[in-house]
């Protein structure tokens, strides 16, 4: 039921998640932030069980901080992805964390953004664009069609909104409100908290 979308653009990574936290049919919280910052230039977007997500993200954040304190150097996104994957993989046969993640980060060394898809079973893949949850079904094809390498930020934001509009339109479970965050060389910034309302008709339809 959680929707997470992310893709890589020209020197940035843009990620969005819905802001619902619920229990069975009820929405408990309307402004739940699923895009958790690991350090100044990395975001871990969590989906799945709330408790597992909280605890697992805390685990990753604290261990990344510890590494930074011990070794006086920041980890790259690739390293964090590998570490996270290993934690999920060792836990799956013992006390599994039911969380599916998207890890996005910007590395100052390479001056490039990167995005990783991580599964609760311990799978990990570096991707240019992707989504978690039911959104993946709707958004996958849109990103296949319209994503290009080195999209400008304005084009990227437009594409993201296109994806979120599709999720709001087709997913029967109401997720109107999304939080969009962006990572670039300056760090993490909250782009927008969008409230999508697909009831507004397209301009083409109005003309007819």
């Amino acid at each position: 039921m959680d929707s997470l979308v992310g893709f890589v653009g020209k020197n940035y990574v843009i990620m969005a998640g819905d802001t619902n936290a619920g229990r069975s049919i009820m929405r408990l919280k309307d402004d739940f932030d699923k895009l958790v910052p690991i350090d100044s230039h990395k975001i871990l977007a969590k989906s799945g069980e709330i408790g597992d997500g909280n605890q697992f993200c805390n685990l990753i954040i604290r261990n990344v901080s510890l590494y930074r304190i011990r070794n006086e150097t920041e980890l790259t996104t690739k390293s964090v992805a590998h570490y996270t994957r290993r934690q999920l993989a060792t836990a799956i046969r013992k006390n599994p964390y039911s969380v599916n993640l998207l890890l996005g980060g910007y590395d100052k060394k390479d001056q490039k953004g990167s995005l990783y898809y991580l599964d609760y079973l311990g799978s990990s893949k570096k991707i240019n664009y992707g989504a978690q949850g039911y959104a993946a079904l709707f958004v996958g094809s849109i990103l296949d069609r319209f994503w290009k390498e080195d999209l400008d930020f304005e084009d990227g934001l437009e594409l993201m909104k296109k994806c979120l509009r599709e999720v709001e339109k087709r997913l029967i479970i109401g997720t109107r409100c999304f939080l969009i965050k962006m990572i670039n060389s300056d760090g993490i910034s909250v782009v927008e908290k969008v409230m999508i309302n697909s009831e507004k008709k397209n301009e083409i339809e109005e003309e007819n």
């Binding site: 936290a21 229990r23 408990l28 919280k29 739940f32 069980e49 709330i50 408790g51 909280n54 006390n95």
Partner: protein, 288 residues
């Protein structure tokens, strides 16, 4: 020999019609969904293999064959209650009902569903009564120790995080806790929802239990941050009243508490069935 294991064995092997709640109040109660055919419902809804592994510890004392064990499903408790809490400008309001049910039987109409943690924090009870009472009392002990060791009052965020971590470590043991930690600290009025699945959520209003959808309706319609104290208490009371009117597993008396910078206070304790008709009378008078 009539051991606990053999009693439960017999009950589980029997058909649904044979099973009755009138017996065995002294032994551990299986918490079943409060519907007509609880075992069939549980088996149809919930998976078998995965839940069996999760409950290996609980099921070990049954000493049944593996095949028979595989036929059983995890049976989850049903939170037959209504509790709500919300924060507003002047503090926190908590309102609860006081009914405890086991199946169709009302076990008690005067259960204390609000447990004081310390003088400025309260915890609510929903789900398994024993689980909630124990863990909230335990949280009270931990908070007291914290205050003695650190010479400062514990924040609501910290207290709720302590409880959350404890419950997370027990997350596959079949506990049933749906508690709200409410209080007033240096950051103002605070409210956290803690679950036995390990979730911890911070928000300005929550309602937990079988009657929570009904309570949410009234609560969401009337809630504002800048309510006056009287309006806020009335809103909490009316929301629980609406829930007890619609939900058969909620009722008894409606207890309302208020927390502000001076600590928690019990405001009122009204009979749920009478309160509804009092409100009706009031409205008829106002119309005239």
């Amino acid at each position: 020999m009539f051991t606990l294991g053999s009693v439960l064995d017999n009950e589980l092997k029997s058909t649904v019609e044979d099973f009755s709640f009138e017996t065995n109040f002294s032994t551990n109660q299986l918490m079943l969904p409060n519907i007509e055919k609880p075992f069939e419902f549980a088996q149809s809804i919930i998976g078998l293999e995965k839940d069996l592994q999760e409950n290996e510890n609980q099921l070990m004392f049954h000493q049944q064959k593996k095949e028979e064990r595989k036929e059983r499903a995890l049976i989850k408790g049903y939170k037959g209650t209504t509790t709500l809490a919300f924060i507003y400008e002047k503090g926190t309001v908590i309102a609860v009902d006081s009914r405890a049910t086991s199946g169709q039987y009302i076990a008690s109409q005067s259960v204390q569903k609000v447990v004081p943690i310390n003088s400025y924090m309260l915890g609510t009870l929903a789900g398994g009564a024993a689980d909630c009472q124990f863990f909230l009392a335990h949280l009270g002990r931990i908070c007291n120790l914290y205050e003695l060791r650190n010479n400062e009052t514990i924040s609501v965020a910290a207290a709720s995080k302590l409880l959350n971590n404890i419950l997370y470590s027990y997350r596959n043991y079949g506990l049933s806790v749906g508690s709200m930690i409410c209080g007033y600290d240096t950051r103002g009025p605070q409210l956290y929802y803690i679950d036995s699945d390990g979730s911890r959520l911070k928000n300005s209003l929550f309602s937990v239990g079988s009657g929570s959808p009904f309570a949410y309706g009234v609560l969401d319609a009337g809630y504002r941050w800048d309510l006056s104290k009287e309006e806020a208490l009335d809103l909490g009371r009316r929301a629980i009243c609406a829930a007890t009117f619609k939900d058969s597993y909620s009722g008894g008396t409606i207890k309302v508490y208020h927390i502000d910078e001076n600590g928690w206070v019990k405001i009122s304790d009204d009979d749920a069935s009478e309160l509804w008709y009092e409100y009706e009378k009031k409205e008829k008078k106002e119309k005239k």
